[in-house]
């Protein structure tokens, strides 16, 4: 759909030199890192930005009336600007830093779920959500009398739009919370259509962009989303930093999530009043260094260009699917029309964990397990899969190594 038109191809070998860890050996072999969907490796620009801040320009933010604190506050708030530009958010105050996607979704479940939704209303999620976009809604359901509805997926791994529409028909749904790209099946969901549908029935929409934003440009205004979340460590940034974007009018109506320093306007023992957004939602000393690292990661990705990254990864995915299709007894899960660089598979002769261990011994890192998506595993009728995922630094040669590696695993177990 919007996979991006092939622009100047990526010079992958040059880019790989930006990621020091890719030169490491594992079990005496070149590292073939095909687990970026779990967490991506970091370019030198990110490492340097964080180290430089610690070495040259660091203090707490929003507090000190001194040079170091003012400069650090500028850098931290500069990261907010960088995220606002990345998402094309209309207002930089709509960017809230969290620890990760999980915390961002919990923030919405708490503050929007309890503060704005009313008991008797419903939240819709899909069958292919990460636990991060399931459990907070179950907690809301149990604590606040919100019904939880599950939108089914088709066998291809796409949202069943007709079934979703049926779930919205009684207009009880206050929020549709759906992944923008499945971390298991690789499916991109039609985010703009989902938003239109949700809005038509009076619901807001939250998109879990943890995977999606790594591979494609996201424009929250074009999507017409209400909430968008992502996590820094998958976008080549550090751990410990995530993002919630939400429309300002929603943030204004939502009560705070955590209480403490930085989020207040005044405190007395009788009562406290809240700071303006975004600070109302950023209690305590934030992840300052991590925000600076995330800004560096965004700058890095933008300099390469999403269009080139998307084209590169689309080619890798196509190549991988073609190679894997030739391996007898191998089953790939997910056949969405619009898919990104995540390929889950099982092998007839070996359990995914055994596959992962044998691939690891060849230097190839894949993930095996339920990928924090147990309900999806149920839907697929399996317990676990092995998963290879691709990043901007992945090469065709590594995909070839994966296919050859799987053939060796097959031999070993038959």
């Amino acid at each position: 759909m919007n996979a991006g038109t092939p622009s100047a191809p990526l010079d992958v070998m040059r880019l790989r030199a930006d990621f020091p860890i890719l030169a490491e050996k594992v079990h005496g072999r070149d590292l073939v890192f095909l687990d970026s969907a779990a967490s991506a490796q970091k370019p030198r620009a990110v490492i340097a930005a964080m180290a430089t801040a610690m070495e040259r320009q660091y203090a707490n933010v929003h507090r000190g009336l001194h040079w170091m604190s003012e400069r650090t506050t500028e850098a931290y708030e500069g990261a907010r600007d960088a995220v606002a530009r990345l998402l094309n958010a209309p207002d930089r105050h709509e960017i809230i830093f969290t620890r990760n996607s999980t915390e961002a979704i919990n923030l919405v479940a708490h503050s929007f779920g309890r503060g704005v939704l009313r008991p008797g209303q419903a939240v819709v999620i899909s069958e292919m959500e990460h636990h991060a976009n399931i459990v907070p809604w179950q907690m809301l359901r149990d604590a606040h009398g919100i019904e939880l509805r599950i939108a089914p997926i088709t066998d291809a791994g796409e949202i069943d739009m007709a079934a979703l529409e049926a779930l919205l028909a009684d207009r009880k749904v206050g929020l549709v919370a759906i992944t923008h790209m499945s971390n298991v099946l690789g499916s991109y969901t039609p985010a703009a259509r989902l938003a239109r549908l949700a809005h038509a029935f009076g619901a807001k929409i939250l998109l879990d962009g943890s995977q999606a934003i790594v591979h494609r440009r996201v424009d929250v205004q074009v999507l017409d989303a209400d909430f968008y979340v992502f996590t820094g460590h998958k976008l080549y940034g550090p751990t410990g930093i995530g993002v919630l974007w939400a429309r300002r009018e929603l943030l204004e109506r939502m009560p705070p999530f955590l209480g403490g320093g930085d989020m207040i306007s005044s405190v007395s023992f009788a009562r406290s009043t809240w700071a303006a957004v975004p600070h109302k939602f950023e209690a305590g000393t934030p992840a300052i260094l991590e925000a600076i690292g995330l800004a560096a990661a965004i700058a890095y990705v933008e300099a390469i260009g999403y269009e080139a990254i998307a084209a590169h990864e689309a080619a890798l995915t196509e190549h991988a699917l073609a190679l894997l299709a030739k391996i007898p007894g191998l089953c790939v899960f997910g056949a969405a029309q619009d898919r990104g660089g995540v390929v889950s598979f099982t092998l007839e002769s070996a359990h995914p964990h055994d596959v992962a261990t044998l691939l690891d011994r060849q230097g190839i890192a894949v993930r095996a397990g339920h990928h924090c998506a147990e309900p999806l595993m149920h839907r697929l009728g399996i317990e676990s899969t092995a998963r290879a995922s691709f990043a901007l630094y992945t090469t065709q040669g590594e995909v070839d190594a994966l296919a050859e590696g799987i053939l060796k695993v097959r031999e070993f177990f038959t």
Binding site: H27, A350, H351, P352, H353, D354, T357, L358, R361, Q362, A368, G369, H370, E374, M377, E383, S384, K408, F412, F413
Partner: protein, 154 residues
């Protein structure tokens, strides 16, 4: 290329992993427990039948999991049959040490001999992420013998 993996996946393990001898729940049993590894999704449903002296007469299980976990469950079922509950618990602790360190702790001769039958699993200690595959059945056995229904490898 997989030479070093031949330690982890010895013929015995591959064989028991493929064709477990005790891989069915007992139709008639006295104790049962479920073992869960929530991180990887491995699961074992274990049933135990006691003999006239209260010893473990038979163990049968239904499991889903990797070759290591199925083989570990099957070898466990084989080695604990005929043991008193106390002896089985001693063997269980010894096996867990073996799986974590690769070194078999000293045991009295009859038990030492049984531990030796489990030696093919000793090399899991070199694969930290796989140790739990081998120990989960033993956690489940412990739960069953203690009269609990659930065990977790966490």
């Amino acid at each position: 290329m997989f030479e070093e993996l031949r330690d982890l996946y010895q013929e015995v393990i591959l064989d028991h992993g493929r064709r477990p001898r005790h891989g069915e729940k007992l139709a008639c049993f006295d104790a049962e427990a479920r073992g869960n590894n929530p991180l990887c999704g491995d699961r074992i449903d274990l049933t135990v039948k006691y003999g006239p002296q209260g010893e473990i007469a038979k163990v049968g299980f239904a499991a889903r999991g990797c070759a290591i976990s199925i083989a570990a469950a099957d070898l466990m079922a084989e080695t604990v049959a005929g043991l008193s509950v106390t002896a089985a618990e001693t063997l269980s602790r010894a096996f867990q040490t073996l799986a974590r360190t690769g070194v078999p702790p000293a045991l009295d001769p009859p038990l030492a001999e049984r531990l030796e039958r489990l030696a093919p699993l000793a090399s899991v200690h070199e694969f930290p992420s796989r140790v739990k595959c081998a120990t989960l059945p033993w956690h489940a056995l412990h739960a069953a013998l203690a009269g609990n229904k659930e065990a977790s490898s966490e």
